[in-house]
């Protein structure tokens, strides 16, 4: 990640453009439409909350926006690259370069310690000083006493902080968060969210977060609400270039 791209003057650059996304899944021989024509634009440095009830399609949308899955129709451009035209391996390479994730169920590797979990993405990229960086990150998040603990030995909040450290380890341009507080109590969730926004600020990262927590959503600059696969509401600061709608 070069310094130029982190320059605030680049902030209005669109990092994510999705238009007219649909997603149909086959369920017991019947086709079920989980997304029905959704368009989203997000600028660099923005924070966007995708809210909606369970089964509204918000996780499917997040998967498609992050390039984990492909839409049935419609286009997604992430960091200026049309995801539809990339194969799975090319999308993986794009993720490696630009994307970080935080999940509701943390998804730490159970056989690795907290430190090793954070080191993993850096090691995969071949970064030097992975251990040092990881340690630094974990200390910043208040986990200096937990470096050699395995996920099962950590509380939920601690696990999510390790997951956050892992997500920020490679300094991503966009952070996708799927219900990051869904498995945490209110107080712990609050502290995690504070951390997310703090890191987001620090690293000038774009944040796209799925949540059903209205309070949490309100902390994002923009929100879209999804019901039955469609955007039913949107609010927040609307940039000239960030048009959200059906």
């Amino acid at each position: 990640m070069s310094v130029v791209e982190r320059n605030p003057s680049n902030l209005t650059r669109e990092v994510l453009v999705a238009s007219d996304l649909t997603k149909a899944v086959a369920l017991r021989g019947q086709s079920l439409e989980v997304l029905r024509g959704i368009s989203v634009r997000v600028n660099a440095g923005e924070s966007l909350a995708i809210v909606g009830r369970s089964g509204s399609g918000k996780t499917s949308l997040l998967g498609i926006l992050a390039g984990l899955d492909l839409p049935s129709s419609g286009q997604v451009a992430l960091m200026g690259k049309n995801l539809n035209k990339l194969n799975e391996d090319q999308r993986a390479a794009l993720r490696a370069e630009h994307v970080g994730f935080v999940f509701q169920s943390f998804h730490l590797l159970p056989a690795m310690t907290a430190l090793e979990n954070v080191m993993l993405p850096m090691e995969l990229k071949g970064s030097k000083n992975a251990a040092h960086h990881a340690q630094e990150l974990l200390c910043t998040l208040g986990l200096e006493g937990r470096l050699q603990h395995f996920p099962a030995q950590l509380s939920g909040g601690e696990q999510q902080r390790v997951a956050l450290a892992r997500a920020f380890a490679c300094k991503p341009d966009i952070l996708f968060a799927d219900e990051p507080t869904g498995n945490l109590d209110q107080e712990t969730g609050q502290s995690i969210i504070d951390l997310v926004f703090e890191l987001n600020q620090q690293h000038q990262t774009t944040l796209i977060m799925v949540t059903h927590d209205e309070a949490l959503a309100k902390r994002c600059q923009r929100r879209i609400k999804i019901e039955q696969g469609k955007v039913v509401d949107e609010d927040g600061i609307v940039h000239r270039s960030a048009v959200v709608g059906v």
């Binding site: 996780t59 998967g63 993720r95 994730f101 590797l109 056989a111 090793e116 993405p121 995969l124 996920p151």
Partner: protein, 840 residues
């Protein structure tokens, strides 16, 4: 970079149960192969060395006349050691007594292999590596009282053979190449070859046996053998270890087959454990692969990492396995050293390149045949998995990966056993068991369904266990198959062991005959029986013996009728008659003195011919054989063909006549019996009372064969222990793979209020039922395979093992229940909260 990070990842992952299991299974496979192959190599070498003692050389040539000096020169020039001896019968006289003896005159080089054992005046056993010096005579113990000779005291005895006077130095206790000729065996004396000429007993036309001994490097021996064999005529016999001692050769062959069978089974089980551990490892990786993909790794990169990891595991476990295998072989060597002293001279570490290659091949095939297909599935894990669990659609049973596994297994077995028949038999057995498992499981599950559908007042632990099996019907089917096949292989090994070792020991029980009496005159019979009874000796029965030569087959001269060189045609055969079939003979064609043939039709007397001789001569039922007996001729018709247990140490005959057929021909009788070492004096009483009777002492040969059997039994026990460990590993992998799921289930049950005891009971009961069913199916499979193996590999009769039908299902139920109890005992007591947390 990828290499280092992959290996680092592997080290971290090695904390997981499935990865540890994979490590252990891989190392076990390598250890088994290297241990058994090394043991087999060293034992074969050692037994080969010890067996050469039976012919006092690596090869022996016997000839009725001396061979061209050029032959011996060629052997010496190529680097072989050469020794020679002459055997003949002569009168020994001294102290005004006479005795017919069998003389063996040996040169200074004799024996090339093995040793001579003698006793001096004090009776102490001494080892000599060469025969008597010129002027000296060694005599068998029995001869001393017969000849009034002594080697103690001031007066030294001298004896005459022909014109030559010889000093009696030692009592001859054992010579390495003691013969096994049935007739004309007189007490043995040994002298120096140089003295033979001065005896003057060898005249043109004397019946002599010249023996030439050769020893040297195996390849040189083989080259000489190739050079020599075309030069031999039909009267000369070329002996290797196998020809020299058929009983030992067949013991060696069976040992090798058994070792290979046991090794194949152990390797097969280790492969099953590898496949299961790899599957579990791969399953555990689904989430990790998805996470790695979200972190930006491509499918190819992920698979490459796993290939690197598998390769690393392969190399490390190969090295580990080779080392452990050496330890195993070393242990086996220590254990067997007492019986096979040649083992102690071997180097501490034997890295046979063939063994290393075999090991590397095993690991490669098992990794790429069993483990890799499981990991290839990971390629298809979608990164979306991190947001939504889709793993159920992965790891479905696939034809291609099953085919890869089956082909790999067959390749592995073949690589290992190099025995197509064995591999084919095992495959058929496995196929049969799989089919049986399927049919029986379907039956059992329908029965269970019927039982569970009935109304029940309260849900007991057993009912719950059965319901659990039914819920996971396909999973239970897999479990049942794996357990059945594992137990079957183990049971098969036990059966094969029993059949091998047991049969040998039955053939050669402690009181197996080890002495033969030959040339018993008919009028001595009653008196001899009296003597045997007096000494409480139980004989194997008295058989009449008429010596005759087979001259014509169906009216045609045998030299014309039979083109093959059959040794039996070059000498007189021992013919006998009997009304009943000897205990260790079995009819393979025709009937034992069938009424419809006897006396009817051609009016010829009937004979029963040994099956191998019949094969060699191309004889079938109804063929007419003409024998020349003491100048008279006798024509008979083949009424049956039978197999003979040549290693039973009882009198056995190639040709047996119906009773009365040999009436009027001069017959002597033969018998055999067991005599302990401290009872040897009986022989003197016999030889004093019956001077014409020849005594053949085979106690040392019998002891040697029994020793080999003991060695083999011991190795077999070791093998079984190894297979047991492999089986435990398989079952461990099976139960271990269930651990996480069981934990989840138990947590849920506990949140719903199930008591700890209930969960425990349901768990072990489920495995007990599984063990019971698997045990029953396994016994069925093992019996069928054993039946086939007895027929084709070990050439023995099969009888069902009813004890096993009861024991195996019971024991396997008990073991599985206990094993699951121990392995899962923490499951019900784990706090549900902890499980729910680790779920996240």
């Amino acid at each position: 970079m990828m290499l280092i990070s992959s290996i680092r990842l592997l080290i971290r992952q090695s904390r997981a149960f499935s990865v540890r299991m994979l490590w252990v299974s891989l190392a076990l496979a390598a250890m088994t192969v290297s241990g058994i192959a090394t043991t087999a190599v060293q034992l074969k070498t050692a037994l080969g060395v010890s067996s050469t003692k039976f012919i006092a050389a690596d090869r022996q040539l016997s000839s009725p006349r001396d061979v061209p000096e050029e032959w011996l020169e060629t052997a010496r020039k190529s680097g072989l050691e050469v020794a020679r001896s002459i055997e003949f019968s002569s009168m020994l006289f001294g102290n005004e007594r006479f005795q017919l003896v069998s003389v063996k005159a040996v040169d200074e080089a004799y024996p090339l292999k093995g040793e001579l054992q003698v006793a001096g005046g004090s009776g102490e056993r001494l080892i000599r590596d060469s025969g008597p010096p010129p002027g000296s005579l060694w005599m068998q113990k029995r001869l001393f009282p017969l000849m009034g000779a002594t080697i103690s005291g001031a007066t030294e005895s001298t004896m005459n053979i022909g014109d030559r006077r010889l000093r009696v130095d030692f009592e001859l206790l054992q010579e390495p190449d003691v013969g096994f000729q049935m007739a004309g065996m007189a007490p043995r004396v040994m002298m120096n070859l140089q003295d033979v000429e001065s005896t003057g007993v060898i005249q043109p036309g004397s019946r002599l046996t010249w023996r030439y001994y050769f020893a040297g490097k195996p390849n040189v021996v083989a080259a000489f053998e190739e050079w020599l064999q075309p030069r031999l005529d039909s009267t000369q016999r070329w002996l290797g270890v196998k020809e020299g001692r058929p009983a030992i050769a067949s013991a060696l062959d069976k040992t090798e087959t058994y070792l290979l069978l046991g090794g194949s089974l152990a390797v097969f089980l280790a492969c099953a454990a590898i496949a299961m551990a790899a599957r579990q490892f791969a399953l555990d990786q689904v989430n990790q692969v998805a996470i790695l993909k979200t972190l930006g790794l491509t499918g190819g990169q992920v698979i490459s990492r796993y290939i690197i990891q598998l390769f690393t595991m392969g190399v490390v476990s190969l090295i580990l396995g080779l080392l452990l295998g050496q330890l195993l072989a070393f242990g086996a060597r220590q254990l067997l050293q007492t019986w096979v002293p040649e083992l102690s001279t071997m180097p501490a570490i034997i890295f046979d390149p063939g063994v290393v290659l075999l090991c590397a091949g095993t690991i490669t095939i098992s990794l790429f045949g069993f483990a890799l297909p499981q990991f290839m599935q990971l390629r298809r894990v979608a990164p979306m998995q991190v947001l939504r669990d889709q793993s159920a659609s992965l790891f479905a049973w696939s034809w291609s990966s099953s085919l890869v596994a089956v082909v790999s297994m067959l390749a592995l077995l073949f690589l290992y056993a190099k025995n197509l028949k064995l591999v084919a038999l095992l495959s058929i057995a496995l196929l049969l068991v799989s089919a049986a498992v399927f049919v029986v499981s379907l039956l059992v599950f329908s029965l269970l369904a019927w039982y569970l559908n009935r109304e029940a007042k309260e849900i007991g632990a057993l009912r719950f266990a059965l319901q659990a099996m039914m819920r996971k019907r396909w999973h239970s089917l897999v479990q049942l198959s794996v357990c059945s096949i594992t137990i079957m292989l183990f049971a098969l090994m036990l059966l094969a062991r029993g059949s091998l070792v047991g049969d040998w020991q039955r053939q050669l029980p402690d009181d197996a005959p080890n002495h033969f009496l030959i040339n018993i005159a008919p009028n001595d019979l009653a008196k001899l029986e009296g003597v045997l009874t007096r000494f409480e000796i139980k004989s194997a029965g008295l058989y009449p013996m008429v010596r005759g030569r087979l001259s014509h087959i169906n009216g045609e001269d045998v030299k014309v009728a039979v083109t093959k060189d059959v040794a039996a045609l070059n000498r007189e055969l021992n013919l006998t008659w009997a009304s009943g079939l000897p205990a260790d003979n079995a009819i393979v064609e025709g009937n034992w003195w069938p009424a419809e043939l006897a006396g009817g039709g051609s009016g010829l007397k009937l004979v029963s011919v040994e099956s191998r001789l019949a094969d060699n001569l191309g004889l079938g039922l109804g063929d007419r054989l003409r024998f020349s007996i003491g100048g008279r001729e006798l024509e008979a018709q083949v009424g049956s063909i039978r197999t003979v247990q040549w290693d039973s140490m009882r009198p056995n005959f190639y040709v047996m006549f119906e009773p009365g057929a040999l009436d009027g021909f001069p017959a002597t009788y033969i018998t055999s019996f067991y005599l302990g070492t401290d009872n040897k004096n009986v022989l003197n009483s016999i030889s004093e009372s019956f001077p014409t009777v020849s005594i053949l002492e085979l106690d040392q040969l019998v002891a040697k064969v029994r020793q080999i059997i003991e060695q083999v039994s011991l190795m077999v026990e070791g093998l079984i222990a190894l297979i047991f460990v492999a089986s435990l590993l398989v079952v461990g992998a099976l139960i271990g793979s269930q651990f996480a799921e069981r934990q989840r289930e138990a947590a849920l049950l506990r949140t719903m209020g199930a008591r700890r005891g209930f969960i425990m009971n349901a768990q072990w009961l489920e495995y007990a039922v599984l063990g019971l069913l698997a045990g029953a199916i396994a016994v069925f499979g093992a019996e069928v395979s054993m039946w086939q193996m007895q027929k084709t590999l070990f050439e023995a009769d099969f009888s069902p093992h009813f004890g096993l039908w009861l024991a195996v299902p019971f024991v396997s139920a008990l073991l599985l229940a206990a094993y699951s109890y121990v392995q899962m005992r923490r499951v019900p007591s784990t706090s549900p909260m902890l499980i729910l947390r680790s779920e996240n």
